[in-house]
């Protein structure tokens, strides 16, 4: 079973399996630990079949005490379309 890490905004609002677009980091030990992947995945605070372990942190880095679960449905590109600095008033 693989193990990943991610940061989620307001994770307490997620109660069961939900599909999300995320950046996850591979926690496999070694020099490549924390390599990132952008994915569409099913994540859940409760286990479900075929899922790997997901260590979830709030977006400020605080770790949730219990592990979550993740199944990667689709791998995405290394970056997302978007405009840098969007949302900041010019």
């Amino acid at each position: 079973m693989k193990e990943y890490m991610t940061l989620i905004e307001e994770p307490e609002k997620i109660k069961g399996p939900v599909e999300m677009t995320l950046t996850i980091r591979d926690l496999e030990a070694g020099p490549r630990k924390y390599t990132g992947h952008n994915v569409v995945a099913t994540v859940s605070p409760v286990p479900f079949p075929g899922a790997d372990i997901l260590r979830v942190r709030h977006t400020n880095g605080l770790l949730l005490p219990e592990p979550w679960y993740i199944k990667i449905n689709k791998k995405l590109d290394d970056f997302f379309p978007g405009r840098p600095y969007a949302g900041i008033v010019d």
């Binding site: 977006t59 880095g61 290394d78 997302f80 900041i88």
Partner: protein, 477 residues
């Protein structure tokens, strides 16, 4: 004599007792940074970690290289025990004489070259600096080089860059930084990629100038030469026309995408807290990596003062502010950003004060951005470097109503890392600035000014001279 590279600097710090070579294996995941952080907090030495878990012999990490004024003094070729004001004066004197860089055809940074499929950021012991950071940070104590394509101005700045994978970084230069200004104005409108170089392990004074606020259009490389009293040697990058320090340990060449974003952060930052959150930031596609054999990754374990940022960046910020105030004809005597203020607070001495001058100082300092948001203005008889004198002036000369003026700053200008700002304020870079006027109002007649009750001010000269002359005879040292 100037240090050509970080290795010569490490040798000098070893001789002065300011660097420890750690031969025990340490983990790049938190351990190296934790050791550095604790050393910073106990005013301990810089650390050269010579054996890194998961990495071959020779791959090293250097932490805390300029985290004390002693090490800043050594980097300037001064005695390590040089007083802080002397360090400032020396920096300021050298700063008057920029020296253009010397362009060379090759250098130690070209000993090894990765291009194409060989590119691999994780070949290097990139540290995870704090528990809960969004990822591993390649750029912490770095120099990020970018260029204005219209004017040819080359900017050196210090901005954090996080590893996404072997060939992609995400980074967080603010929109009001020189990097952000050039990118937004010159590349994004044309949907063009901006070439950059992220330099790690250059000579120590090149890193210091990267923290400095020289104006738009001013090449920091000239001031690296000024501080070194010798030109810094630059060599052309492999994949762009950028010039990079020839003696750097590692140079990552990449392009910032105008139409893409990637997850970055959070990161424990220089104000001493991790206030930021994971967010969408700039994306850098790596085009080449060049590096010295047995490379040294320079790292800053950012946090509560003191560390490289609160010491070195505060010094360069103070002098940048002094230059800017003088350009605005403000009668400044000196400027000091104490390390404990983590470049949020600055003390400005003036020839003659008053609230009009104090407000003008605040407005000049916060015109482009309000990273510094607390300004303490003192009269010329207060030594800005002596916190006892500054706190005394703040306590008794700053009127609690008339002496404090604050204002909100426009969205986008405030520092999103400032811990006292709400989440909403940080998201929109909203905040404020305040000035504490600790000067005598100029309209007060001189004969009504309170007399300072100090040895130098409240005793006649002949009594002062008599006391000083007989000091040892009184049994005093």
């Amino acid at each position: 004599m100037a240090f050509n590279d970080i290795r010569e600097f490490c040798q000098a710090l070893t001789k002065t007792g300011d660097l420890v070579h750690v031969k025990k294996e340490v983990d790049w995941e938190l351990e190296a940074a934790a050791i550095t952080r604790r050393s910073n907090e106990t005013l301990g030495p810089a650390l050269l970690f010579e054996k890194i878990k998961d990495y071959p012999a020779g791959y090293r990490i250097l932490g805390g290289q300029q985290a004390t004024y002693r090490r800043v003094a050594v980097s300037l070729g001064m005695p390590p025990e040089a007083p802080i004001p002397d360090i400032y004066r020396e920096y300021e004197a050298r700063d008057q004489k920029p020296i253009k860089p010397e362009i060379v055809t090759t250098g130690p940074c070209k000993e090894n070259v990765m291009k194409g499929e060989d590119i691999d950021l994780l070949k290097f012991p990139v540290p995870l600096v704090h528990d809960g950071d969004g990822g591993r940070y390649f750029g912490t104590w770095d120099i990020v080089i970018s260029k204005d394509p219209d004017t040819g101005w080359t900017n050196w700045g210090m901005y954090r860059f996080m590893v996404h994978n072997e060939r992609v970084l995400t980074g967080d230069p603010t929109m009001t930084s020189h990097f952000g200004i050039v990118f937004r104005e010159k590349f994004m409108p044309k949907k063009k990629r901006m070439p950059i170089a992220i330099v790690v392990g250059a000579d120590p004074l090149s890193h210091m100038v990267a923290t400095a606020g020289y104006g738009i259009g001013v090449d920091e490389a000239d001031y690296a030469g000024a501080l070194r009293k010798a030109p810094v040697q630059l060599v052309k990058a492999e994949t762009s026309d950028l010039l990079v320090p020839a003696h750097a340990e590692i140079v990552v060449e990449g392009e910032i995408l105008p139409d893409a974003v990637g997850t970055e952060g959070p990161f424990g930052e220089y104000p001493g807290y991790r206030t930021g959150r994971a967010h969408m930031a700039n994306v850098c596609l790596v085009k080449a990596i060049t590096y010295r054999s047995s490379p040294i990754m320079s790292m800053i374990s950012l946090g509560i003062p003191v560390d490289d940022s609160s010491v070195s960046a505060a010094l360069t910020a103070s002098l940048a502010i002094k230059r800017r105030l003088k350009r605005h004809n403000i009668p400044v005597t000196d400027v000091y950003a104490p390390a404990e203020g983590v470049t949020h607070l600055v003390v400005v001495g003036v020839e003659q004060g008053g609230m009009r001058v104090a407000q003008e100082i605040k407005n000049v300092i916060t015109a482009r951005r309000a990273a510094i948001n607390k300004v303490v203005v003192v009269d010329k008889d207060v030594d800005v470097f002596d916190m006892k004198q500054v706190i005394h002036a703040l306590s008794v000369k700053c009127h609690p109503v008339r002496g404090i003026v604050s204002n909100e700053v426009a969205p986008g200008k405030a520092n999103e890392l400032t811990p006292c700002y709400s989440l909403e304020e940080r998201q929109h870079k909203k905040g404020g600035a305040v000035v504490f006027d600790c000067t005598w109002p100029p309209e007060w007649p001189k004969e009504t000014l309170p007399i300072k009750s100090s040895f130098n001010d409240i005793y006649p000269r002949e009594i002062q001279e008599k006391v000083l002359k007989n000091w040892k005879d009184y049994g005093l040292k």
